[in-house]
């Protein structure tokens, strides 16, 4: 079964347009420092919504939500997504 972190890293690989391979990033690494743009963060968010069948409320659409793998995991868990790890 795919874990939350694995899915987030897969979404980052497909939509994040990062300078680094998401597999090599630490869970607290700043994704904006790794090249995540505002536009790409929108694509990451839309892709996560599709993957987990959730919708990010407006108040969660902040830079902080998409700043790191751990912040995205926390946001998804807040939306009721369970980690299978």
């Amino acid at each position: 079964m795919t874990t939350l972190d694995e899915t987030i890293r897969s979404v980052l690989k497909n939509q994040g347009r990062l300078a680094a391979d998401p597999e090599t990033l630490g869970e607290k690494d700043d994704l904006y420092m790794s090249g995540l743009s505002s536009h790409s963060s929108v694509n990451v968010m839309l892709s996560l919504e599709s993957e987990f069948d959730v919708e990010f409320p407006v108040e969660m659409l902040t830079k902080a939500t998409f700043q790191s793998i751990s912040s995205m995991r926390a946001a998804l868990e807040k939306l009721g997504v369970k980690d299978s790890a």
Binding site: R17, S38, H39, S40, V42, N43, L46, V58, L61, T62
Partner: protein, 132 residues
């Protein structure tokens, strides 16, 4: 009195990919009904206009420099992107941020470089300024 400057660059192909992958979910999140009016139905052509609009929104966002309260992209509405300049209308949190910094107007210059839309926004800040 001081000036704030915001610069952004948005590749056309990224916008085109987003249009093809996410369609209406993507456009509804970032662009107002007025901004979408009159766009080409060809994603390749539409992406060029949308990239200019998005770059403008991001350049203006940098001018507003939000901290805790982040404006939605829909609160920065962009007009007249066909030429080399754009005008904007602010609402909601974006308008409040401008008011708080005494920004009454934002000038936006547009360009194209290496298949990217570029936007430069400049605003004069004053303590007694208002909001348009």
């Amino acid at each position: 009195m001081s000036f704030a400057v915001g610069i952004d660059l948005q590749p056309f192909d990224e916008v085109e990919d987003s249009l093809r992958t996410f369609g209406g979910r993507y456009t509804r999140l970032l662009y107002t009904t007025a901004e979408l009016k009159g766009l080409s139905t060809d994603p390749h052509l539409a992406a060029r206009d949308l990239a200019s609009i998005f770059a403008t929104k991001e350049a203006v966002m940098k001018v507003l420099a939000p901290n805790d309260d982040i404006p939605s992209w829909l609160e920065i509405e962009v007009h007249h992107v066909k030429g080399r300049s754009a005008s904007i209308t602010l609402s909601g949190v974006a308008a409040q941020l401008a008011l708080g910094q005494g920004i009454s107007d934002v000038a936006v210059g547009l360009g194209i470089a290496n298949e990217c839309a570029t936007a430069t926004a400049v605003a004069q800040k004053s303590n007694t300024g208002g909001l348009r």
